[in-house]
């Protein structure tokens, strides 16, 4: 089992040596990803495989032993992220032929950490992989260009903060429950609840803070927009789809079981206050994510906030604490990996060809890049949760579970968020692909084969999971069953909801939609053609706005698409801005630091401070 971790490490080392020639390095990257996928596939079902490495490093009196275990949930996350990583690997061979920096070695290290996180058996290994992933992703994001520095610095500070809060939580847990193994520490933590409630809540809150920072949930939702806009696009596709799930996995394996069977008084007999706390945070991040996504002009930032919203849905699924809700959110995890990867791959293709990521500067690419358009369209439909594609199933199960638990406020916020999703997804589709093609992109061609094939694979995946959810649900339910949850194994095409005998058969839904598309295509072919007028004529009466000294793109209809909607929410966002709060903390530190440097640079108060130090000792030694 340990060779699945060794392979990425060795390839990282080798590709670091041959960093100069790109072809070999990216080819190695592809092979190792393929190997990992194959190895994961062979590990399916063998849940008792463990690998223990005991060092004689003493902590709390006992010798520390680091372990990896093939737990079912870890396998589930690892397998599906490996599938998507393989596809991205194929894509990035073509993408990186002419890019400056080479992110492959760092990316291999991140994949090593990725597998380590999903397979860690005890908290110390988990923490080691977590921190390794933290700083390696900093180097992957910046990858040599300095304009990415302050966004990456922001992300680094947050992830280090998350890491430290998790370190405190792990050590408190280790001290009070005498074990670092994740599963046993969960059970003992529950007994600890009635012994020392204060410690219990601090441990839980610190864990939740660390996981929310990594998964960009409500209080820490700002970093994705700063980071996704500047990083290398193929790595960002990996980061936005897989790496944002690292916070969700420990929630699923540790926090949810602990909160689930806590004997806390139930509020409106739906769930204890912890569930509501998580639920409201999920709802907030869904709503805020959607709203902010609407106001963005950069397409990568737009989809960064859409990731925040989707993380919100997953949390809502956890908050319902019902089996169907839990399954729904885990199913949504895979759906989101697939659809986010598809969307970011197509964005990468757009950036690869046009080099532009501001939406109002693009337009009309549908004629030049049809396959990218189709992938983007499928991604949009899946993200919006429209039936034939995979987004629908998980959202449907989550809303069912929330309704069954009568958490009405959460349901309303989820529905508001998914309708909001229509708005910004449609806006992205229209401004990038539809509309008129600016002159400068006249000679844009479709991306080469090595990049369009993975996009087609992604489309196929989305359709497959959409129509036959069993592909994901069957391994998921088997995994949950192996973990000890009372769950019945899902069938290939039907999804069971939390109400009695209300299942839904997705094959029929697919047939209906197929017929709908056929009718739409007929109407389009035989309807009267629309004649195209140059875009700028309609408001500049044939004049060329450049003579007015104004940037023509600002007049593009998709410039501030939802201006009225934005004015409605602006007063809200002006006053409370979490983003300003965090960056102001950073600014304060940078403000104090010159004064301290001044103190040390002059250095003439040395003896005075020496005697003040002696004074401090005397006051301490004498008075205290």
């Amino acid at each position: 089992m340990v060779e699945i971790l060794l392979v990425p490490l060795i390839t990282a080392f080798i590709s670091d040596i041959f960093i100069k020639n790109k072809r070999l390095v990216w080819f190695l990257f592809l092979i190792s990803n393929g190997y990992i996928l194959y190895k994961l596939y062979s590990l399916y079902g063998k849940w008792d495989l463990t690998y223990i490495l005991n060092t004689d490093y003493q902590i709390f009196g006992a010798k520390l032993s680091l372990g990896l275990s093939n737990n079912p949930l870890g396998w589930y996350f690892a397998f599906f992220s490996a599938v998507v990583t393989l596809v991205i690997a194929i894509f990035s061979i073509g993408f990186n032929t002419n890019s400056k920096g080479n992110v492959a070695p760092i990316w291999m290290l991140i994949i090593f950490a990725n597998l380590g996180i999903f397979y860690a058996a005890d908290w110390i290994t988990f923490f080691m992989m977590w921190e390794l992933m933290g700083w390696t992703s900093f180097f992957a994001i910046t990858n040599g260009n300095t304009k990415a520095l302050d966004g990456a610095k922001y992300y680094l500070a947050l992830s280090l903060l998350g890491g430290s809060s998790m370190l405190i939580a792990i050590l408190l847990l280790g001290a009070y429950t005498k074990t670092f193994i994740i599963i046993t520490s969960a059970y003992r933590l529950i007994q600890l609840f009635n012994l020392a409630e204060g410690v219990f809540t601090t441990i839980l809150l610190l864990f939740i803070m660390a996981f929310f920072i990594k998964s960009a949930i409500f209080p820490f939702y700002m970093w994705p927009s700063k980071v996704y806009a500047v990083g290398p696009e193929d790595y960002i596709a990996f980061m936005s789809s897989v790496m944002i799930k690292y916070g969700i996995y420990p929630m699923a394996i540790f926090i949810v079981p602990v909160i689930g069977n806590l004997q806390l008084p139930k509020i409106f007999n739906a769930g204890n206050w912890m569930q509501y706390f998580i639920g409201y945070l999920g709802a907030l991040s869904a709503v805020v994510g959607t709203l902010l996504a609407m106001f963005q002009t950069d397409m990568k930032k737009l989809f960064a906030y859409s990731s925040v919203a989707n993380m919100g849905y997953i949390l809502l699924g956890f908050a319902s604490m019902s089996i169907v809700g839990f399954e729904g959110s885990l199913f949504h995890v895979v759906n989101h990996i697939v659809l986010k990867a598809a969307i970011f791959l197509s964005l990468a293709a757009v950036v690869y060809r046009t080099g532009e990521s501001e939406m109002h500067k693009l337009g009309g690419l549908v004629y030049k890049m049809p396959i990218t358009f189709l992938t983007f369209l499928f991604g949009i439909i899946a993200a919006a949760g429209i039936p034939p594609l995979n987004g629908f199933g998980s959202k449907w199960m989550i809303i069912q579970a929330l309704m069954e638990k009568k958490m009405v406020v959460l349901v309303i916020s989820m529905v508001f968020a998914s309708t909001g999703a229509f708005m910004y997804l449609f806006r992205a589709l229209v401004s990038i692909f539809l509309g008129q093609l600016p002159e400068r992109y006249k000679d844009v061609k479709e991306v080469p084969y090595t990049m369009s094939i993975p996009m087609i694979i992604m489309m196929g995946l989305m359709l497959l999971i959409g129509v036959v959810p069993g592909v994901v649900m069957k391994p998921l339910t088997i995994a949950l069953d192996a973990l000890g949850y009372k769950v019945d194994i899902a069938t290939w095409t039907t999804l069971s909801s939390s109400f009695k005998n209300a299942t839904i058969d997705l094959k029929i839904v697919f047939y209906m939609f197929a017929m709908g598309i056929v009718v739409a295509a007929l109407m389009y072919l035989f309807g009267n053609k629309s004649e195209t007028i140059p875009q700028h004529d309609n408001y500049t009466a044939g004049e060329n706005p450049i003579e007015w000294g104004v940037d023509a793109d600002k007049f593009n209809y998709s410039y501030s698409f939802y201006q009225p909607f934005k004015e409605m929410f602006d007063p809200l966002f002006e006053r409370i801005s979490i983003d300003r709060f965090f960056s102001s903390i950073g600014k304060n530190f940078e403000y104090i630091s010159p004064t301290i440097q001044g103190l040390y640079k002059r250095g003439e108060g040395a003896v005075l401070l020496f005697s003040i130090g002696v004074l401090l000792f005397i006051l301490g030694g004498w008075i205290l």
Binding site: L160, S164, Q597, K601, F610, I618, G621
Partner: protein, 487 residues
Amino acid sequence: MNSIVFLVVIPIIAAFLSLFLGKVNKLIAYIVTIFNLSFSIVVLVSGKIPFNVAIGGWRAPYGINFVVSDITIFFLLLINVAAVLSLTTIKEHMEYQFYAFYFILLAATNGMVLTGDIFNFYLFTELTTFAIGGLVAYKRDRLATGASLKYLILSSTASTFSLAAIGLIYKTLGTLNFADIASKISNLNKASLSLILILFISSMLVELKIFPFNIWVVKAYDASIPAVNLFLHGMVSTAGVYGAIRILLMVFSKNSIMLSQSSNIANILILLAFITVIISEIGALTEKNLIKVLAFSSMAQLGIFLFGISLGNYEALKGAFYIVISNYFAKFVMFIVAKNYSVIAGSRNYEDMKGLGRKYPGLAIAFTISALSLMGMPFFAGFWGKLSIVGNALLMDKIAIIGVIIILISSVIEGVYYLRISHTFFSDGNIQDTKLSRINCVLPIILAAVILIIGIYPNSIENIIWTMINEIQNTPEKYIQVILPLK
């Protein structure tokens, strides 16, 4: 094993000889340092480790004696290895005074670690102060004179404080020998003991670079030539750390590991420790000069070390040892890399060193590895130290918990500014092609490899540290019967 005194005598004789041999000095410096290192290795291997050497034939409490125990040998090796490594960075011809100062510094730091007599320890500290004062002032330009003068004034006032403490110890306990003091310390009046402790600790903390006492650090590091930075870091602060362990933990703490009888002095030490950490991290945040950044960061690491020591339990002490080791190797790599890059880029400002990481990847990777180890990232040596210090501090009283939280926040700050520096190394910049000889790329890579090995597989270091902690655990009894059996 009386010949251990050669470790101190040979460098002093070499110092006298260095007055005449202008050109040959560098060769003699190598010979003497390698002699010291190999001699201490022979003593380590000889296996007669806890032994006591009475100088001049007079037995322990009456004459001066050298004590060699597990901790002594460990720190002796650290100092001598540091001396050999920092000699390799001296390229150009140095005047004979530089080598005289260097020999005396070598003799003094070895003596500080070996001696078992408190006045002798004071004398060796004085010698180190003068040697470092001379070395810092070696460039004799504006910055160096100011730094050396202010360091001298501060350290001579500090030494008068420790002289007063020695006088008080002699007046009350009547002896000057560490072991004798350790055995008689408990029948001292509590107030008098805290007075003696305060005087002694205040002069000790000047060398340990703790907040109110460390105003001299940044100026001294910035004003001196790179080789002297390595001396300052490798030899002087290691000897200072040894002094803190030997005196604060073994001599003045009777039975409990509690740093001192009066627990509130320990609380003040914890308070000062984490204030040093947070202040030096914030100070380094916007610092542009690479050497000053390293000076701030070494203050922070020693702050964490003092925090680990004064927590008062053995696992936190083990963490403090890990921090010392990781800081020792990491800072070595960083100073060498800083020297090489500032020679190429022409200025010590890390923004002008853009793109050097691409031209000399070995150095930049070594720098990043040591930066990560200082930040306490897993898979590097610093992590094991941070783990046990944070773990044990959480279970202590309130002030320790606040201290741990502040230390973790400052390690976040440290992470931000270190990775920003290593990012500027790797980012693309136009650097004209001055050829850097391959051999000084090798040294940082080896040291970075050591950090990595300790990080991944800490067992080897763990056993060494536990032998030392066992020695501290049953301190006075084992220590005294090594020195005073002849009574």
